[in-house]
């Protein structure tokens, strides 16, 4: 879980993230960052994420729940 949050922080280029943080509030949250998130979740956790799934994600917790490592 901590490792996953670190990877998300790296993609979003921030020191750390909280579960309640809204994705839309991050400056770096854009189409490339979301594609990076898709690629990271696929390569490191072997889980497929679609753009529709990504659109459903509002908070960091939503992403964690999807990857089921909360």
């Amino acid at each position: 879980m901590e490792e996953f949050l670190e990877k998300i922080s790296e993609i979003l280029e921030v020191e750390s993230v909280n579960l309640s943080d809204n994705l839309e509030d991050f400056d770096e949250w854009d189409s490339l960052t979301s594609l990076s998130l898709i690629a990271m979740i696929d390569s490191d956790y072997n889980i497929s994420v679609t753009n529709d799934d990504i659109r459903e994600f509002k908070t960091i917790e939503d992403v964690c729940n999807f990857v089921k490592i909360s």
Binding site: L32, L35, S36, N51, I54
Partner: protein, 239 residues
């Protein structure tokens, strides 16, 4: 001693598809990849499985030339064609690349191609060598966010192709520049935005089987194509 085709990247969807096609056409194959068990079970699924051989080598960490040279000696094989499908793809913004990531991408996509070609261009091997086929990506000629380092590595294969075609003649050297193909590796990216990507390619997203057909043509029918990048992308780059 028998003639063989050295095929790297045999754990990938495209590698498997090309291997299947070439084994059906009666070629002897040296299947290369990192995972021995996976290669063995794949080899057993092919036609003439007893004639195929397996060369296990991790391009990131091993001395490729030494490993291949001892393999050729021990197995008593003649390499007639080298098909470099092995590759490493990482999609992320440039700011996230660490030195190790960059090294790995260049090592697996480019340096391995150079090292294997270098070994096979030695006098004792070159006289038997007829074809070198590299696998590049449409991202090397059409820009996209997140592909920069991978594209830079793949673009290097184009320069290598043109120059080796001269230096190693009459060995034919061809660089296949592939567009969007649905594979185990690319499916998460392609499926994430399938409709949009598909509609921007006149003939749609490709299947790995397309490639085996063309490789088979290059090996068996083509006698006057060398030093070229050949784009196979369903027309995507025509737009």
């Amino acid at each position: 001693m028998s003639n063989y085709i050295l095929l790297t990247g045999c754990s990938s969807s495209i590698g498997k598809s090309v291997a299947k096609k070439l084994s059906e056409e009666g070629f002897n194959l040296i299947l290369s990849g990192r995972r021995e068990e996976e290669l063995k079970s794949f080899s057993q699924s092919l036609n003439n499985s007893s004639t195929h051989k397996i060369w296990v080598c991790d391009f990131k960490t091993e001395n490729i030339k030494e490993s291949l040279e001892s393999f050729i000696k021990n197995q008593e094989v003649i390499i007639e064609s080298f098909i470099h499908i092995g590759g490493l793809f990482t999609l992320k913004p440039l700011r996230l690349f660490k030195k190790e990531d960059i090294n790995d991408i260049f090592q697996v996509n480019v340096f391995s191609a150079i090292e294997i070609s270098s070994l096979l261009s030695k006098k004792k091997y070159k006289s038997n060598l007829k074809n070198i086929i590299f696998f590049s990506s449409i991202s090397s000629i059409r820009g996209k966010s997140g592909y920069s380092v991978y594209a830079a590595a793949k673009a290097s294969l184009s320069g290598l192709t043109k120059n080796l075609a001269i230096e190693l003649k009459p060995v034919k050297v061809v660089n296949l520049v592939l567009g969007a193909i649905m594979t185990e590796k690319t499916k998460s990216i392609l499926n994430s935005n399938y409709e949009d990507i598909n509609k921007h390619i006149p003939l749609g997203i490709g299947e790995p089987e397309e490639i085996g057909e063309f490789v088979s043509y290059l090996l068996q029918k083509s006698n006057w194509i060398t030093g070229q990048d050949i784009i196979i992308d369903g027309g995507g780059s025509a737009l």
